[in-house]
């Protein structure tokens, strides 16, 4: 046993729903109840060993019904992945891919090839619950990463520090932890040897390791002397005494918004090191931890917010609008703002909140009631009840409920004087209530 605490309280639909938000993209109809029936251990097992993927629901398409072209059409990479998030039967696998996309944040702004970005994405999907050492090796030679951080520019003739620095600072050790500027330079030397060619009309091709470009000299990395290569570099970063604490803290932060206590952190580190850097046991232990179930809610990222709304509505990808809408809310997939990934502490401000308003509007758009055609009761309580039922009766806190009641009261009050308003305002009020609920604090976090 790892000695990491496990949640021992009731595991009902509410707990299962939170787990589905943290380890996936929120529940579809009936999923929280089904997961709750498995119990905590059964639920975690189902998420971490999901079996073969089944895609549930309609295939994605653009506004004219044409299939997506994720390698070629601008924005269709985002839509393609959003569709996987919505339709997958392996939510944790997709969620881990999102974790690694943020951890090894690579932007197509620097890569310039949706195909290479999607290949990297597939690596994260296949290796995301495997072994971190293996993952680091694969990322280090991944073509998108080689382009993004100049790995294939780095040669013995002309060292380039970009990947060597971020590998330690952002991927394995943390800023200034257990390495210095000289290690950055030496690590860059160890990482030399990757090359690629560029062909007109094709782009970057023929990614390879060419020993002729590798600096075979002796390097001193972390005070150890040797003729280190890129494989040594990966191994030495992962076995570095400061790596496990970095890994655990960073991985934890993707699932729980409050930091782990000291005993939890050291227990998870033991689990990680004794497990030879396997990712799945650490993630399983985090998903079972009491802090996930009893702690504060966590802000949803824009992609999670969007995928979650669509899963709840049972709606698939049928418009390309999600690209600019998620971008407006601060998260276009495959375009993280920089190599540090997205800043999750800043998902909500006056600019990105407006993006979420528009996401909710787009999610609800096909369901909007036509006030000229669709009669609804001229009764505030019934309209609120109907709006909550539309969203499957979420729990709202008192201030939100009070705001909705006040709105309904005022809007129906405006209709008192005129008969046509008494017919047309109720459906409009219902539309507005659905939208307001979707933008409420209760829907922004889970």
């Amino acid at each position: 046993m790892s000695g990491v605490a496990a949640y021992g309280g009731a595991f009902g639909p509410a707990q299962a729903e939170r787990l589905l938000w943290r380890a996936g993209f929120g529940p579809r109809r009936g999923e929280a109840q089904a997961l709750a029936r498995l119990g905590l251990d059964g639920a975690i097992h189902a998420l971490t060993y999901p079996g073969r993927e089944k895609l549930v629901g309609h295939a994605p398409h653009d506004d004219k019904g044409r299939p997506l072209a994720p390698y070629d059409a601008w924005g269709h990479d985002h839509l393609w992945w959003l569709d996987r998030m919505i339709r997958t039967s392996r939510p944790l696998v997709e969620r881990m891919a999102l974790v690694w996309h943020d951890w090894f944040a690579t932007s197509n702004d620097g890569v310039g090839s949706q195909r290479l970005m999607l290949n990297q994405n597939q690596l994260f999907r296949e290796r995301g619950l495997g072994n971190f050492h293996d993952l680091l090796l694969d990322v280090t030679r991944d073509p998108a990463m080689l382009l993004w951080l100049n790995g294939s520019d780095n040669s013995k003739y002309s060292p380039n520090e970009n990947y060597g620095r971020e590998m330690m600072e952002l991927f394995t050790l943390g800023a200034g932890r257990g390495y210095g500027e000289e290690d950055v330079r030496q690590n860059a030397r160890a990482l030399t040897g990757f090359r690629n060619d560029w062909k007109p009309n094709v782009g970057d091709v023929d990614f390879r390791y060419d020993p002729k470009y590798h600096d075979t000299g002796v390097k001193t990395l972390f005070r150890k002397r040797g003729a280190w290569t890129w494989r040594d570099s990966c191994r030495m970063c992962v076995t570095h005494p400061d790596h496990a604490s970095f890994f655990v803290q960073k991985m934890w932060s993707y699932f729980v918004p409050t930091p782990p206590d000291a005993a939890t952190a050291s227990g998870l580190q033991r689990l990680y090191v004794q497990g030879k850097y396997e990712i799945r046991p650490v993630v399983s232990a985090i998903l079972k931890h009491p802090a996930l179930y009893t702690g504060p809610p966590m802000v949803k990222s824009p992609a999670l917010y969007t995928a979650g709304l669509l899963r709840r509505l049972g709606r698939g990808i049928d418009t390309t609008s999600w690209v600019w809408l998620d971008s407006l809310a601060g998260q276009q997939l495959f375009y993280p703002p920089n190599v540090g990934g997205w800043d999750d502490t800043r998902w909500l401000d006056t600019a990105t909140w407006r993006g979420r308003w528009w996401i909710a509007q787009e999610a609800l758009d096909p369901y909007a009631l036509d006030p000229g055609k669709r009669p609804e009761p001229y009764d505030g309580a019934k309209l609120i009840q109907a709006a909550l039922l539309f969203w499957r009766n979420p729990t709202l806190a008192a201030p939100s409920t009070a705001a909705l009641q006040q709105f309904t009261h005022n809007a129906l009050g405006d209709a008192k004087s005129e008969k046509w308003k008494q017919q047309q305002y109720p459906p409009m009020v219902l539309n507005a209530l659905r939208h307001l609920i979707a933008t409420s604090p209760e829907f922004q976090a889970a």
């Binding site: 059409a73 943390g174 504060p296 920089n338 401000d349 009070a402 507005a432």
Partner: protein
């Protein structure tokens, strides 16, 4: 960017995408050894039990009653218009040795065999330095005594991490734990609880330099694009809906305040733009020129803006193939800043605005083998405006003795000294309350008296 094959409905998204590509980029996630992000005072992604946003200190003032915002706007509208400081960030570590190339330094071409520039306009105050042709707009303003040049600004014991170094610049101290921005702390001293526009990021997210502990600040992409819509909700019901969403948590409350502040800048239903500029701005897919145009219009309209942050267009983390990428970014940035200055002058408000251009570090003197440069230390900064002193701050230390052990330029001016002087000479506030150890820094002359 690749060509768009299925472009229906995507012209707007392309535009937005480019906006995002250049827009302000928050601090990275919190990891061991990495600074806490300015502003939140929170552990990562946390929400306190009180609900969404109650913990977001950047939206301080959330306890304020709803009616207060109207009074706040009314009060702000009648207040005497004050000074405005505009912070323009060249993200990625701009290569100062190309912005002002030391062509008169004998080591320059040795260190930069591929990248060395030649020719151009020399700097009046130091004949060794030449303006990059792409920043001709700034050089022109310099010729008019409207630019203060800092040829080697930085700090001792430079950190070569993008994230750590920009954090230092953002919080105004070499302190990884400080989590309010230097401009945010200034607003906490002089700001009010009802005016999100007092500190505004023209970016897709809030600039960490503006992170406050008490008073609200805002992020907008453009003043004329702050609209809210809901299908099949119109007329009185729509008005009721819009007056309601401000009650759905503190973030929404600030959104609602801002929406009201920006109503005059909305494009009209007949397509008339929400504002007009008296001078032409560069035409670009990048929104930067339009953001500056909107900013000038907002200041001219008397909106209560005080400190403003923008990210400059361009890619400055030039590890490879530096020359073209750097020139493109610098050109659009400098041309836009020139247009902004002319706009302010045409509107008669140039004396109220000062622009500070900065980057988290400069780049190594020796180029790398990819026709690029790696992370360095001291870099180039500018202050632009009719009230800028026009006197160089610090000096160019030379490539012979002016490099540190890592081969990076040694600073001859400290960014905290610059901040302290800006606070005192431009914002009329005692720097001691804002910048840690402010009294230990000399005060360069940044503003014409």
């Amino acid at each position: 960017m690749s060509d768009c094959l299925h472009c229906d409905g995507l012209s707007r998204s392309r535009m937005l995408h480019r906006a995002i590509a250049e827009a302000g980029r928050g601090l990275p996630s919190i990891e061991p050894g990495m600074p806490l992000p300015a502003g939140t005072g929170l552990s990562r992604r946390a929400f306190l039990a009180g609900g969404l946003g109650a913990a977001l200190a950047v939206y301080g003032g959330s306890r304020l009653g709803l009616s207060a915002f109207e009074e706040g706007i009314a009060a702000a509208a009648t207040a005497t218009p004050g000074q405005v400081l505009v912070s323009v960030f060249l993200e990625g570590g701009a290569d100062g040795l190309s912005v002002l190339s030391p062509q008169g330094d004998p080591l320059y071409t040795k260190l930069r065999p591929q990248l060395a520039l030649s020719g151009g306009t020399p700097l009046t105050e130091d004949a060794r330095l030449f303006w990059h042709p792409a920043v001709g707009g700034i050089a022109q303003l310099y010729g008019e005594q409207k630019v203060t040049v800092m040829p080697a600004v930085g700090y001792t014991h430079p950190d070569q991490s993008h994230f750590t170094s920009r954090h230092y610049w953002e919080v105004g101290a070499t302190d990884t734990h400080l989590n309010t921005g230097w401009l945010g702390r200034y607003l906490d001293v002089v700001g009010t609880e009802d005016n999100p526009l007092q500190g505004v990021s023209f970016d897709d997210t809030l600039a960490p330099a503006l992170a406050t502990a008490k008073v609200p600040v805002a992020a907008i992409t453009a003043p004329d694009q702050y609209d809210f819509y809901s299908n099949n909700v119109w007329g009185e019901v729509e008005e009721r809906m819009l007056e309601t969403f401000g009650r759905l948590g503190p973030v929404a409350q600030q959104v609602d305040r801002l929406r009201n502040q920006l109503l005059p800048f909305r494009a009209k239903d007949d397509g008339t733009p929400g504002f007009q500029s008296p001078v032409p701005y560069p035409k670009s897919d990048d929104p930067f020129p339009n953001k500056l145009a909107g900013l000038a219009a907002m200041i001219a309209a008397g909106l209560p803006l005080h400190v403003v942050a923008l990210s400059a267009p361009g890619e400055y983390d030039t590890h490879s193939d530096e020359a073209g990428a750097l020139a493109d970014g610098l050109q659009l940035t400098a041309d836009s800043l020139l247009a902004f200055q002319r706009d302010l002058e045409a509107r008669g408000i140039a004396d109220r605005v000062l622009v500070h251009v900065w980057s988290e570090f400069g780049r190594r003197a020796q180029e790398n083998g990819s026709a690029g440069t790696d992370h360095g230390a001291a870099g180039t900064g500018f202050l632009i405006g009719t009230r800028a002193s026009g006197q160089m701050v610090g000096e160019f230390p030379g490539l012979q003795s002016g490099l540190d052990d890592d081969g990076n330029l040694i600073e001859t001016a400290d960014f905290r000294a610059v901040y302290s002087a800006l606070l005192e000479q431009w914002l009329d506030t005692d720097a001691a309350a804002i910048i840690p150890s402010a009294k230990t820094f000399p005060r360069p002359t940044l503003v014409k008296s």
